[in-house]
Amino acid sequence: MAKIKGDIVVNIERCKGCEVCIAACPFTCIAMSEEVNSKGYHFAIKVNDECTGCSNCALVCPDGVITVYRAKVTAE
């Protein structure tokens, strides 16, 4: 069965940790990291494999740090 799978790439150094993407994600895929970037902000990280690449997080991100990929994959 084909399944839609998505992935996000966060520009860690540009992320300001506003958490707006967490509220926008329908699958709670995003959380804040334990570590901080060079500016001292906790940054967004992907925390599970539920992402479908809907790009909601990228749309609401005020700093445009999220790049979204999406592809059909056949499940094993």
Binding site: K46, V60, P62, Y69
Partner: protein, 264 residues
């Protein structure tokens, strides 16, 4: 840092669905974390990219938080004195009628200091787009009361809340200019959720499309948050905005094709 749930096999150009447009300059934005300005900037640049008019567009940046907009948008920009962006845009549009012109203004710039310029540019029916970011506060200078501040809202110059008897009512400038015959398209949008962002982009697209028709001002208000000025976290401020700003500033089209929209 090692990414636990990364899928490097998906990170190929053919699988790309969303990335920040190249018309946004690759530099950190000067806005506070969670500020709606960044989203509006990006949507604006996406519209210009889709219409392929970036080289024919001139923006006028205001005074306020977005005064540095020319650093972030990779298009021609001109700085205007505080509130005078519509007057400057009028001159640009009259000299280059085939160019696309927009002003990008906050509520302190457009609704307080530049009220005269805004109303007269709208009344003359110039053919440019006004993008109005309304967060009910003077964000850049430290959260002072603006004309658009809600009744009872605490700001640094109204620490006990805005008292209508002394400080007057919030100014609904968008409804005000919709009454003028020179405006053709007037709408109010927001950018706190993905669907709202998509609607805002559609409104911006329509506003720029209408510049071709030379029918008058297209005016897009975006109700935005100011989490630093409101002293909240970004997510809290978005919820507060939905609960408190939207009843006073209801979203939706106010004037379409030169006709006022009647709300049931």
């Amino acid at each position: 840092m090692e990414e636990k749930f990364a899928h490097p096999e998906l990170r190929k150009p053919e699988h790309l669905v969303y990335k920040t447009t190249d018309l946004m300059v690759d530099c950190p934005l000067s806005y506070c974390p969670g500020c709606g300005h960044g989203v509006v900037h990006r949507m604006l640049m996406e519209v210009l990219e889709e219409k392929e008019i970036a080289s024919k567009t001139i923006g006028v940046n205001p005074v306020g938080c977005s005064v540095l907009a020319y650093d972030f948008m990779n298009i021609d920009m001109l700085g205007a004195a505080h509130g005078r962006a519509p007057a400057v845009a009028t001159a640009i549009k009259r000299l280059w009628p085939d160019h696309y012109v927009f002003t990008y203004q906050g509520d302190g710039d457009l609704a307080a200091i530049g009220t005269a310029e805004t109303i007269h540019a709208c009344n003359r029916g110039e053919n440019f787009t006004i993008i109005f970011i309304n967060n009910g506060i003077y964000g850049m200078t430290g959260g002072q009361m603006a004309p658009t501040t809600l009744p009872g809202m605490r700001t640094s110059t109204s620490p006990y809340g805005r008292d209508i008897e002394i400080m007057g009512h919030p100014l609904k400038i968008t409804e005000l200019i919709a009454q003028l015959p020179g405006t053709y398209y007037v709408t109010r949008q927001s950018v706190q959720t993905p669907s709202a962002v998509r609607k805002t982009k559609k409104a911006l697209r329509k506003a720029f499309d209408l510049q071709d028709q030379k029918k008058g001002i297209s005016f897009v208000e975006v109700v935005s948050n100011c989490n630093s000025g409101w002293k909240m976290t970004p997510v809290q401020s978005n919820i507060w905005m939905e609960e408190n700003m939207f009843p006073v500033y209801p979203l939706g089209d106010i004037k379409v094709d030169g006709e006022l929209v009647t709300r049931s």
